[in-house]
């Protein structure tokens, strides 16, 4: 059993979880985009006409979107066990923030699917 203080600490941290994940995705996608361009992964096609560069970006984006969805679902599952009003508010706010972060990731990173990745 965890005490009320620890539980609220976790809840407070979960408020930042969604956009924390968004920030990690930003750094990882940006870094791997640059690595791919430096190594010429955008040249040629590997599978289904997609370059290694596009494939790795799609894979990373898929992983991060799955983590976002898992976070939203996880926060919903915990919602029913909330007891105090403060806990309920924190859980609800954390879940809404996680949904906003999921939407932000789709909006911000869909360019990795359609845009040219490296200078021709």
């Amino acid at each position: 059993m965890i005490d009320a203080t620890s539980r609220r600490t976790v809840l407070l941290l979960s408020l930042a979880a969604g956009f924390g994940l968004w920030a990690v995705a930003f750094v990882v996608l940006y870094a791997m985009l640059s690595v791919g361009c430096a190594f010429g992964w955008d040249r040629g096609s590997l599978v289904l006409g997609l370059s290694l560069q596009r494939l790795q970006l799609l894979l990373l984006l898929g992983i991060f979107l799955a983590l976002h969805v898992a976070l939203v679902v996880g926060l919903k599952a915990r919602q029913s066990r909330a007891d105090a009003a403060t806990d309920r508010f924190l859980r609800s706010a954390a879940r809404l923030a996680a949904i906003a972060a999921l939407a932000a990731s789709v909006f911000t990173y869909f360019g990795a699917v359609v845009l040219t990745t490296c200078n021709p």
């Binding site: 909006f107 360019g111 359609v114 845009l115 040219t116 200078n119 021709p120």
Partner: protein, 182 residues
């Protein structure tokens, strides 16, 4: 940009004016104002700007094309040198370009990092020693445009400007010939 800003300004003014009209005031609930003013309208505006930026970004990429012209840009404290491949011409702080043609500017520096920017023509790009960056720009109308160094590069940074003269296609070669004769 001006048209978009005008539309947003007028829409916001109308919404504010609504607060003084008794029949409209009940419609302006806090929830609606937050939902429309804080979420829906900004999201639509941002989506339009992002779509425009993505499309413009793709257009600025230096893809190979028969119509593309290349000009070399060398920055140094505190001047710009422009070289025109295929000609012996090099100009200092004055850049000649033809109108209506994509131009790839190959930008580098001889000392510190500078940034090449012609605000009215589009994006800027860093001039980095030992490295060549390329930006594609295009002037649609003849005339004179201002160019600046957009990265602080030392005490002569602020006056490190250049002039861009966009010539009609038939006048461009003559302008280069005239520069060569100097």
């Amino acid at each position: 940009m001006l048209a978009g800003a005008t539309v947003i300004f007028l829409a916001t003014s109308l919404a504010l004016a609504g607060a003084f009209i008794p029949s409209v005031r009940p419609l302006l609930t806090p929830k609606r104002l937050i939902l429309w003013g804080g979420l829906v309208v900004p999201s639509l505006g941002l989506a339009a700007l992002v779509a425009g930026a993505f499309a413009l970004g793709e257009r600025l990429l230096p893809r190979q094309g028969a119509e593309t012209l290349r000009i070399e840009v060398v920055a140094r404290q505190f001047a710009w040198e422009f070289r025109y491949p295929g000609t012996p011409v090099a100009t200092r702080d004055v850049l000649h370009i033809p109108v209506g043609r994509d131009i790839d500017f190959a930008v580098t520096s001889e000392d510190v990092i500078h940034s090449f920017w012609i605000p009215r023509l589009g994006g800027k790009i860093d001039a980095i020693p030992g490295h060549e960056n390329i930006v594609r720009l295009r002037a649609d109308a003849p005339g004179t445009y201002g160019g600046i160094c957009a990265e602080y590069c030392g005490e002569g940074h602020a006056p490190m400007r250049f002039t861009v003269i966009a010539h009609a296609p038939e006048d461009y070669e003559a302008a280069l010939t005239s520069e060569a004769a100097r």
